[in-house]
């Protein structure tokens, strides 16, 4: 032991290590969760995570709600990419009820989901930038997330917790303004993303801070239940969009980017590359949409009167419509009994819905497979032996969203 260390008297109960509470409301945690770090100097020797500060009992609440009222609950899981959660829930319901959506609805959904993925990755990567000391990128890309939020707003009227879509399709057709906004985004965004990459990807400081920081092997990542960009950064090309295609993803041409070391830099690269792929997918979807002509170009929902609210003017003039309207709003539709697992590729991994129904009006049991709840357990293994400042970068590059973790 060198002379720099404080010499503790014989039999002292003082510790040589420091306990540090990182969170629950620490600015660097980007959400409400706590890490109790045991530090030796600035080196982490153990980390214990405490989650549950914003637990809202969604699974319990869902047991008392008809299907369509559960959509707003899913918004509040990963609120950085709420539309993906909404679509995942609609797909689960549609699988249970055997609803077949028209192709046009699938393509519209894909546009929305990929926009949401871009906004999710954009936030995550720019926050990694903030935590490594580069604030510029964050402020710069924020205005382009705003463009995405304006598109949501045009389609469903809200921005963060979107409640977008219904069982069977969308609540209304996309307006021309919405399509114009998507076109505008497609035109402007590649330049911005390129510039964002120029700022970070070969930036010496950024590389020094992130390369080799919080690495994980493919084997450990799989064992820890990693999914999404974090797993792909470790070198496993698992993507729900490709392995269990939903919403016609099988018709689209895109690549799954993979990393090799699973460190923060690889996670950053994978997310950036995925944004390029998302742009490709949106472009393809827009092209496919333009092929619909005449009546077909007006379709925006499946024909399922039991679950899809009729148009308001029909409610006032047609008896059928009035009956369905009342039954849906009062939640008086019995569901078929069944057991469904449906997953979608969320912003940060495989978002799964496990739904059990017993033939009643509400789910018997609904469980959300929340990707970041599952991979946050690996945090101690990822940060052990590294510096405190690295631990913060690991946290932001894992893309931990407190709302999703605590459900």
């Amino acid at each position: 032991m060198s002379d720099h260390h404080i010499k503790l008297p014989e039999g002292s109960i003082e510790k040589q290590t420091t306990t540090l509470n990182l969170g629950p409301t620490h600015p660097a945690t980007h959400g409400v969760f706590q890490n109790i770090l045991e530090l030796d100097g600035e080196r982490i020797i153990s980390a214990e995570q405490t989650v549950g500060y914003i637990h809202r009992a969604f699974e319990k609440i869902a047991e008392r709600r008809p299907l369509y009222q559960i959509t707003p609950l899913t918004d509040r899981l990963n609120y950085c990419s709420a539309p993906i959660n909404n679509m995942g829930w609609h797909l689960t319901c549609e699988k249970l009820l055997g609803v077949k959506t028209p192709k046009r609805v699938d393509y519209l959904r894909i546009i929305i989901m990929e926009l949401a993925r871009i906004s999710d990755h954009l936030i995550c990567n720019s926050i990694v930038g903030v935590d490594t000391g580069a604030y510029t990128g964050f402020l710069y890309v924020m205005q382009y997330r705003e463009l995405i939020y304006e598109i949501y707003e045009e389609i469903c009227g809200s921005r963060l917790t979107t409640n977008i879509g219904r069982i069977g399709g969308f609540e209304r057709n996309f307006t021309n303004t919405a399509f114009e906004k998507i076109e505008k985004f497609l035109k402007e965004y590649p330049k911005v993303l390129q510039e964002f990459e120029n700022l970070f990807t070969r930036n010496r400081i950024f590389m020094e801070r992130t390369i080799g920081c919080g690495p994980i092997s493919a084997e450990r990542a799989l064992n820890y239940g990693f999914t999404g960009p974090n797993l792909r950064a470790a070198g496993v090309d698992y993507d729900v969009r490709v392995h269990t295609p939903y919403s016609s993803y099988e018709e689209f041409d895109f690549e799954i980017p993979v990393g090799s070391t699973g460190d923060c830099y690889d996670r950053y690269l994978v997310r950036n590359q995925e944004m390029w792929q998302s742009l490709r997918i949106i472009e393809q979807a827009m092209r496919k949409l333009s092929q619909f002509k005449g009546k077909e170009a007006e379709v925006f929902h499946a024909d399922v009167p039991e679950y899809y609210l009729p148009e308001k003017k029909d409610v006032y003039t047609k008896m059928e419509a009035l009956i369905w309207h009342f039954k849906i709003i009062m939640g008086e539709i019995d569901m078929p009994a069944g057991e469904v697992y449906q997953s979608v590729e969320g912003g940060n991994g495989e978002l799964g819905f496990y739904l059990i129904t017993d033939g009643g009006r509400t789910p018997y049991r609904l469980h959300f497979r929340r990707p970041c709840f599952i991979y946050y357990q690996a945090y101690e293994e990822l940060t052990k032996g590294s510096m405190l400042s690295d631990a913060i970068i690991v946290m932001s590059s894992l893309n931990l969203i407190a709302g999703e973790m605590d459900a």
Partner: protein, 167 residues
Amino acid sequence: MALTNEYIKQRLTEKFGDSIQNFQEPYGMLTFEAPKELNLKVLQFLFDEDALAFRFMTDLQAVHYPDNKGRELAVVYHLHSLTENVRIRFKVFTDIQTPDVFSATALFSAANWMERETYDFYGVNFIGHPNLKRILNVDEMDYFPMRKEFPLEEQTRVDKDDDMFGR
């Protein structure tokens, strides 16, 4: 050779005989149940066999069936064979008086928090879990809130009485 549900079923029956029961395929996913003493053996078998290779735990949770006397709690595992891209669902039933089920943490690190969550909400006691304590609820809580005997709204409240819709 693609891994089919038939093949998995055949391999399981060969290995465990009649203990594995109730094979079903709701919406295409092979579902079966095993006695709770065998849960680790089944998971290990599915994990080790190269032809099956169910080495990814997608999800783990419990379901409460209060009317199912003697087998009130079901622990449900969702496993994924990534090489063959096949998912299966595997259930273990336990009674609610002694809800002891062996922990899968030695096999899947991912099971750690999922088991803690299941314990937190359903009180399933995972034997061999390294740190079985509440995760989302407060430590002082003395009941398991997701069990069906706890209704969502407090039944003694009078201010929310609604005769018309029976809430």
